[in-house]
Structure formats: C-alpha cells, structure tokens
Subunit: 429 residues, 2 copies
C-alpha cells in the first residue's frame, strides 16, 4: 500500500453520482485492499448545490463548473456522470483529457457521438477513457468483450439494453395491455427519460449498441449507421400472436460484420420464448456475445439504477488504480477502421401479420405474391374470425427485408388485404 492515493473528481451528483459517493464512503477499506492503494474523492460538481442529497459532501471541494473540476490539478481521474451528448459533458471531458487526466464515463450519448475524437485525444496524451457504466448498467460487458474475449474474432453481439422498453413489452405481454396504457404507466413510475423517445425510440439502446460494435469489430463508433426502430408500433395483437407461435417480441440490438459491411440494428425482433433473451422479463438487461472460439456468452443483470451503475463506474476506477491501461475501444483509436455500413440487413425469417377479406382464393393470392418475391413460407395460420375479415399469420423462411418489402408491395395489387400488413424480423438467437 505504498502507492499514492488515486484522486477523483466527480461531475454529476444525481442518482449515479451519489451511488459512487456512497460506495466510496462505505467501502473505502475494502476497495483499498483490492486496488492496492486508497481511492479518494477530492472534488465534486453538480448543477444545484442546495439540493438535499442525503450524504455528507462537506469533505469534498465544490466546483460549480464541471470544466473547472475537470481542470483541477489535484485529481487523477475525472468521472463524468452528468449525461448529455454535448454541452458541459463534452466540454468537461475534453478539458479533463487536455489537463492530463484519465476519464471514467457513464455517458453513452457522448461516446456514441464523439467517442472516436475523444479516444484519439486521450490516447495522444497517454490517457484512458473507460465507460463500463455506459452500456447495460451493472453488467461488466465492456470488460468481457474488450478483455475476456480478446482472443476471439467476434461474430455477433446482441442485446436487450433498454430496461424501460423491456419493461413495457413484458408488461404488455403479461397484463394484456396496449402500448399506450403501459407507456403511461411507465411514465408515472418515472421509468422514462425526460425525452421518452430516447427510450422507446431505441436511441439510448442504439448508442450502447454502437459502442459494443466498435469494440467487437475494431471499427470507429458509427451511431449514425444504426438502423433504429422503436417500440411505439408494437401492438398487443402482435405480442399475443407471436406468443402463440412460441416467440417473444424484444427491442433487440444486433451488430455483426458481414460480407456486405457492418450491420447494426436496434429494432423490435421476435426471439424464441424459451431462449435466454425470450425469457428476459422487466427492466433487466441482457447482452449476448458470440466469438469464434468461445461460442456464446450470455450476461444478464440490472441495466440501470444507482447501485448497478455506480458499481460499473467503480470497476473502471479500480482498474485505473491498479494500473490497468487500455485503449478506449480495445485497440488504439487511430487503428480503428471506418466501417462500411451494410446497406441492408442479413436474411432472416420474418413474422407477417395481415388481415384478409374472407373470400375464396384470398390466401392463395397472398401466397402467390410471396412466391413471386422469392419468399417461401415456413408456417401459416389463419385465425377464427367474425364477419368478413380473416387474420392471417405467416412465418417465412429466410428472406431479405428487401424481398419481404417487395412481397408486401405485391399484396397491395391483390385487393384482398384489409389495412397494412405487419412484418417483424425473427432473430436466430
């Protein structure tokens, strides 16, 4: 224990920041034993100094400006848990790097937008940026991917990484309630971001996916190339009918390198109900890592909240205290390739739901359209109906989304369709 203490500056005293304070205050000796040196919080910063935070902060210097905190010469590590992809978060992180400090960040938005530039700046100065807390909360997935699986060519990364969306989808399923009602419940429970579209639009989860993809495939973060579709159009009908066929609907992120380029998707998908992803309930997160040697590793845990996120921040801080020095994305930022985004997603089975007029030959016309588009049928179910409309479900064999869309285009000319068909990808997990 001869080393000097590691000194921290903490920007952000919301839920996560106060979780970090709590761990530092309650586990100082335990952490010192593990890190081989003491870890000391020196200075903090937050927007509102007067708020009651239920902890004694009198031992820390207070900076009203996070940039000033980042520039203090009595800290070694700058911890950024304010959030926001621009503004103070970005300015203070840049200032910390310029001042020669290491950075620990929980900020997925900032890293998804500016990770490459920040990593290059940090690495040029011999500094590290660590961001375990930015992806899947308390699950140490960045570490597993960057370090534990470093001997693997990564084949695919998948994840349910927004707890609010998974809460909404499983609540719809379990209670049989429509999206709008469960969305309102989630809002009242405080599960939604101030801008709910960050959650239900898939943006937050898409940020996380783009960070995992950069590490997995040695490519520059490219959030702009993530195919994004939120859960707002997932209907209770589809959840019920998918369940009837042995599937669950998840907002699933998938990143894989294909012959057509890097595929990054954050979209509703069907997964088998008895798979680990299919069984995932409520706000819990799950990440699936697939490597050529290791096969499939599944990690499951809390994706948000004070304790889990602070645990991830502290894991990074303790790594730095122990002297671990890693490139931000697992290899030097300057060696990361600019990935070519795949123009279309890889072929997959699809779930199709449509309503047909109840006339002889209606189904035959639909089948003919699918055949013309080169899409073959794996399963088909026609449900009992009232009146003149017949709900029909089709599970296709593997087909590209282009072919599915082509078939749907042909449906329109048949005159047997009532309303618009729904098409959802079925991901093999």
């Amino acid at each position: 224990m001869s080393d000097a203490p590691l000194r921290l500056g903490l920007a952000g005293l919301g839920t996560v920041g106060m979780g970090v304070v709590k761990i530092l205050q309650t586990h100082a000796d335990l952490i010192a034993a593990r890190a081989g040196r003491r870890i000391e919080l020196v200075a903090v910063s937050a927007r509102d100094r007067t708020r009651n935070r239920d902890a004694d902060l009198s031992g820390y210097f207070w900076e009203s400006d996070p940039v000033a905190l980042a520039q203090r010469d009595d800290i070694d590590v700058f911890i950024e848990v304010m959030g926001g992809h621009d503004g103070p978060a970005r300015l203070s992180t840049e200032a910390a790097i310029a001042a020669g400090h290491d950075v620990v960040s929980a900020n997925k938005a900032l890293l998804a937008h500016s990770g490459q530039a920040l990593a290059e700046a940090a690495e040029a100065g011999g500094r590290v940026i660590r961001f375990e807390a930015a992806v899947a909360g308390g699950i140490p997935v960045i570490k597993a991917l960057t370090e534990g699986l470093a001997g693997n060519q990564i084949k695919r990364v998948m994840g349910v990484m927004n707890g609010t969306c998974n809460y909404i989808l499983t609540r719809m399923q379990n209670a049989g309630l429509p999206y709008d009602q469960v969305f309102e419940e989630a809002r009242q429970l405080g599960y939604l971001e101030a801008d709910p579209n960050l959650d239900v639009g898939g943006i937050d989860a898409g940020h996380k996916l783009s960070l995992l993809a950069a590490i997995a495939f040695g490519t520059q973060v490219n959030f702009g190339a993530v195919e994004l579709e939120g859960i707002g159009n997932v209907s209770i009908d589809d959840i019920r009918l998918a369940a009837d066929m042995g599937y669950r609907i998840k907002l699933l992120g998938v990143a894989q390198m294909t012959g057509r380029g890097l595929e990054q998707r954050m979209t509703p998908c069907l997964v088998p109900a008895d798979s680990p992803l299919g069984q995932l309930q409520g706000g819990t997160n799950m990440v699936v890592l697939e490597g050529d040697s290791v096969g499939q590793i599944v990690m499951r845990g809390p994706g948000a909240g004070m304790g889990p996120t602070a645990s991830a921040v502290m894991g990074d801080v303790i790594d730095i205290a122990r002297g671990t020095r890693l490139s931000t994305f697992g290899q030097p930022a300057k060696t990361l390739a600019a990935a070519i985004p795949a123009r279309t997603s890889s072929a997959a089975s699809h779930y199709l739901r449509m309503t047909l007029v109840d006339k002889p030959g209606a189904l035959a016309k639909i089948a003919t359209c699918l055949g013309e588009a080169g899409v073959s049928i794996d399963q088909m179910r026609q449900y009992g109906h009232s009146g003149t409309h017949a709900p029909v479900l089709i599970v296709t064999h593997k087909a590209t989304r282009d072919d599915i869309d082509h078939a749907i285009g042909l449906f329109a000319s048949t005159g047997v369709l009532v309303g618009a068909p729904v098409a959802i990808r079925i991901e093999e997990v």
Copy 2:
C-alpha cells in the same frame, strides 16, 4: 507496436493446449492489434511428441520436460494446461515462478490445493498468476468478479460449473431415465473424466467454487472446507416430483460469508424451474454473482471444450501483454484472511420425500415430528399409490439442516416410514 513480443511457453498439448495453438496461429494479427504487441509461442511440451495433433508445431522448441520448459529464459509467460493437482503441473508452475515468469493456468485442482502458496511465491517475485480458464470454461467470470465487481461487497456466489453433471441431470429429466443409465451414456460420449468421481462427486466443481470464494471474500482458498455432495444419489423420482412442484435439481455451488463463517457448498439443490439456473440445460455452465451495489449478475456459457477454454487462456495472456498486473486472488495473497468455515449451512426451505405405510394417522405422526424439531410445513402433497405405501412430498419453511436431520431422526421412531426419507435443500435464487 513498438513493444517487444510477448513470448509464451505452453505445457500441455491436449484439447485446450491445441486450442491455444490454433488461436495463436489464426489470429496473430488481430491479437497484436488488440494487445499492442505481438504474442509469440516459443516452446511447447507434452507427454507424447509423436501423437498426430493436426497442426504444424515445427516452429516451436519442443521440451519433453515441462519443468525445463518453465525454466527457459526465452519465454515471458508459462501456460499450464496439463492438469493434475500435483506432479508435473505443480513442479513446472513453481519452476516458472522461480524463473521469474508469469503464469496462465487452466488448472483448477492445482489452484484449489496450492493456490495460496503459489500466489504468495508469485507475488513475492512480482509475477502474476491468472486462471480464467480454470473456472467455468469460456465464461469470463474471474474477470467479472475480480475486476468488474471490485467495488462491491460480494454477498453470494453461485454456480452450475460442471457441464457433465448438468448434462446428466437434464438428460434424466428430459428423457425420464435413471441415473445409472445416463451416467453410462455420458461415459460413452466421453463426457466423464478418467476418474468420474471428479465430475459426479462434485470435486471438479468444488475446486472452482473454492477459487471463486477466495476472490469474492478475500479469503485463502480452502477447498477442504467445501461441503461436497455429488449427484450419484439424485433419483429420477426426485427429479420428477421436484418438477411437479415447479423446481429443477442442479448440482449447485454456493459460497457466502455469514455470521457463522464462510459457507461453501457444492451439493444437489432444488431451484425454481423458471429461474435462469433452473432453465439451464445440458453441458452449459452458469455463474451468479451477487454484490451489494450491483445486485445480481448472471453469466452463462460453455464450461469446457477446446475453443471456450482456449479463449479464456488467451484473455489472460492478452491482459499480460497489455501490461495488466493483478494479484492472483484480487488482493495481495498475504492479505487474504484464513476464513473460518461455517460449521453448518444457513437455513433454507427443504424438499422432503418419504414413503409412509398407508394407515390412518401416519401423516399426522410425521407432521408431529417436524413440529417437535421446529420445522414448519409450507406445502405437502400425498400422491396416489398402489398397495400399502403412500409417497409423500413436503416442502418446509426455512429450517437449518440440523433441524431437518433432527426431524428425520424422530421419523424413525414413528414406525410409519418405509425406507429412508430424502431431504434436498431448496436454494433461493
């Protein structure tokens, strides 16, 4: 890429060793990009040089003696994947440390028996011992526990960590076959160690649990204090009846620090069928880590085999190449406490199965015995029966094993029992 290459000596060219060779030969550039330097295999050792190993080994020096390999001055890291808790594995590991080399080991038996002495020797010389491959194969659980969750006080570690046992138990369940028959199948499939008791007696899994416990609780490895019970007495009747009540039987390792000391158990337990542990099928492993901040993290993946185990070895090697230096058990070996083993396990619900003579009042007598022993009943089921015997299942409320055994002792004096009752712990997961 200005650093000198990291030079490896590999002792053991069985499945795991050849997996390491394969990764080094196919992914040299990928690994160099991630590690920041090249990683080169310099010399190898195995018992039989003439065996056809389906790979070109001509570029490596051959040592017939692993101790001589460990002492070579042209290696930086000694990789031990021979196995065995004594003999060449131990001698060569000691020799590598004495020669100033770092060690990467897949040898759970050696570390469970001699981990403390080896860690002290390594740390005295500034060397590291890494052993991700020794626990749960390809799952990076040592890393998650030692590093990712280092900010947590660990509350409990659980795991299904012997794939062969989980294969046997799930095959019994799914096919309705008795233990002896499935054991024989597993033997013919090559799933069993040369000494099958290492698998089905829980010894191999117990080794792994003792290593996790040392890291989790900052205590010296104490394999001798692990309560060990294999799966040889798990009957198809119990598997069926447990399933009927919503449970699965698993060979489950549990380590937790209690007021009565360190509890380490590797025993058959009932877990809820719909929990991640309950849903685990076949040879897959699962480890559950519970920390005070992070809550519960579940990791699932392949627990054995060429690729997964070699992946874990390479994760450790790449860490060393990157300059990561950690204490063997997460804090200096000399600071690890000698844990006091808990004399008895913590209270839990128990599953009791017994057969009673079919006479009025028989069940009342059993209930009276339970009451006398201070054990209360949560659920009770009497099954349809033929002739004069009635199978009875009881799920108790939380009780210590001592109280359960006390009750079973009292049963004997009632004269209503046919044969011996079965008692299995129900672990809350």
